[in-house]
């Protein structure tokens, strides 16, 4: 049953992601991306990570994609305009970035799989209290991974500052 559900939700996420990047209409793309997030949330539920699943829907589907939709609707992008722009100008950089990402994340994953306790069995899970609850995640996030968490927030702050400087040419 769990495997069947995993395949159903995983397949839903994959198909939605594929449709999201191939649609001509930006609104349709955004909606398929929302479908992808729901598929992903379903996968999290199958993995008994209920908190992550709820936050996935709350943050990505409920807030970030609504913001995307808002921007797309505000700019009123038409399919025709996108056609006139033609294919991407420098696809080589995109391909390079994709290869780099796949290699880096693959490397990190292979590295992690080797470490003991990456796939905890029932006993280890009970010892770690990995019950997918907010408490377990909070303890991990603000305990073991505190530094990584803070570094990520600084990264995001940099992103926000960059966006502000790019959009506001004149800072008075």
């Amino acid at each position: 049953m769990t495997t069947v559900l995993f395949i159903v939700f995983g397949g839903m996420a994959l198909v939605s992601a594929l449709l999201a990047v191939t649609r001509q209409n930006p609104i349709a793309s955004a909606i398929w991306l929302v479908g992808m997030f729901f598929g992903l949330a379903g996968v999290y539920v199958v993995l008994e990570a209920y908190f992550v699943a709820a936050v996935q829907v709350l943050v990505y589907a409920g807030a970030i994609m609504v913001l995307f939709l808002f921007v797309i609707m505000l700019l009123d992008l038409r399919t025709k305009q996108l056609d006139e722009e033609g294919p991407p100008k420098m696809p080589i950089w995109g391909v390079l970035a994709a290869v780099l990402f796949i290699v880096a994340s693959g490397w990190a994953l292979m590295d992690a799989v080797g470490t003991p306790g990456f796939f905890p069995d029932a006993e280890e899970r009970a010892a770690l209290e990995l019950d997918g609850s907010a408490k377990a995640i909070g303890a991990d996030l603000f305990g073991r991974w505190l530094l990584a968490f803070e570094v990520t927030s600084i990264l995001l702050l940099g992103g926000i500052l960059g966006a502000v400087i790019l959009t506001k040419r004149r800072l008075t």
Partner: protein
């Protein structure tokens, strides 16, 4: 009345308790599954019927407030008016204008309605006291006992805005599009304050489970007393989230014809209508659960689960009435005022409140809960007094009435 409820539940109580009790051995009997399905069906119908009754109540209450009569012809007090309306919606031609995006236009009302209906799965509507480890604990009954109930409701309720935004976009009309754009902007702005207003509740109850939040309130005190500011901001933000006046920018009739549902007719329009009222019911139930102790009422709920349902219903009905009350009392905000209220006023206030509450819990200092509300009230009083002092000389007596001879020209 209590006596009737008391005897009626004698025969029912074991059956009902069986449906809602967690099975300890993890087995689900056939009767248990059927019972659950029946309760799900019952809940959906309660929301649908409540939605229909709310339309009637809105018309009657607005009429009452404006010294009119309102619909009173169909059935006693016009109670069957929603049925007549439904009949009209059903038999109207289902027009799909030629200029719309057909797929999105068709599914948009569904996306708006379904989330509102499924959020009710985790709302506890009654319960009983059970002895756990020598202590009496309030155990809530709901369809699905989720440990992350609060997050589930916030997450699913946030999906409904896609129906409004997509409906507005798919209609391919400038008024609808503006309504949809406004809906999405408003939703993002107020979801932050809404979520941050819930954080102090979760901090104090120590749980994201709605049943445990009620148990905490039954044991201590209702959170409206210890978190008045969070309660007020949550209530106000929920008006914005459900697109009700004074924040009904997505459909503001005076500017946008009817906003996002301008191009919709027959049952598609009715579904948008229903979604609004179902969302109001969810918001009212959530306010009741988070801040007003849900199905508890100072010990009255110990009479039985029927009493719990009654208490919960009365609280929800009060907040539903407040939705109507406010709509026909307060005029609509301007769009920039709406955004200012969300980002400049509510967001900092809720953030400070979260920090103060966390500090109060960590340091065990009860007075810190009330610091911010007291300061705010004091600041409001001082500002009012200063403003009044400054403008005191500007208040002139009204010009005297024109003389009798000139009255005809006035």
């Amino acid at each position: 009345m209590m006596g009737v409820l008391g005897t009626a539940q004698l025969g029912m109580a074991p059956i009902v308790a069986h449906i809602f009790s967690k099975n300890d051995d993890g087995s689900a009997s056939f009767g248990w599954v059927i019972g659950r399905i029946l309760v799900v069906l019952l809940m959906v119908h309660v929301i649908l019927i409540l939605g229909a009754l709310m339309v009637w109540a809105e018309r009657r209450v607005s009429a009452w407030m404006q010294d009119r009569i309102g619909p009173n012809r169909v059935g006693p007090q016009g109670l069957l008016q929603p049925l007549a309306d439904l009949g009209k919606f059903m038999f109207k031609e289902d027009v799909i204008p030629g200029h719309v995006n057909k797929v999105m236009y068709t599914i948009a009302p569904l996306i708006a309605t379904i989330p509102a209906l499924i959020t009710f799965a985790v709302v506890p509507f009654t319960g009983s006291y059970e002895t756990v480890g020598g202590e009496s604990v309030a155990v809530s009954w709901q369809i699905a006992d989720l440990n992350i109930g609060v997050l589930y409701i916030l997450a699913i309720a946030g999906i409904g805005v896609y129906g409004i935004a997509l409906g507005g976009w798919a209609s391919n009309s400038k008024y609808s599009l503006l309504g949809g754009v406004r809906a999405s902007a408003q939703m993002i702005s107020y979801e932050l304050s809404l979520g941050l207003a819930v954080v102090p509740v979760v901090l104090m109850a120590g749980s994201l489970n709605l049943g445990e939040i009620i148990a905490y309130q039954a044991e201590n005190t209702w959170l409206i007393f210890t978190q008045p500011l969070a309660f007020f901001i949550f209530l106000t933000a929920s008006y914005a989230e459900t697109n009700r006046l004074p924040f009904d920018m997505p459909e503001s009739e005076t500017e946008l014809v009817a906003g996002y549902h301008t191009e919709f007719s027959s049952m598609k329009f009715a579904l948008f209508f229903l979604a609004e009222y179902a969302n109001m019911t969810v918001a009212a139930a959530l306010v009741t659960t988070l801040y007003l102790g849900g199905w508890t009422f100072f010990g009255l709920e110990t009479l039985g689960w029927g009493m719990g349902v009654l208490i919960f219903s009365l609280k929800v009905i009060f907040f539903l009435f407040a939705f109507i009350w406010v709509r026909w009392t307060i005029p609509r905000f301007r769009y920039d005022q709406l955004m200012n209220l969300g980002w400049v006023v509510f967001l900092p206030l809720t953030l400070i409140n979260v920090v103060l509450t966390a500090g109060a819990i960590a340091l065990d200092q009860t007075w810190m809960f009330f610091l911010l509300p007291v300061l705010l009230i004091a600041a409001a009083c001082v500002a009012t007094w200063i403003g009044w002092k400054r403008d005191e000389d500007k208040f002139q007596p009204l010009p005297t009435a024109p003389a009798a001879g000139e009255e005809g020209h006035a």
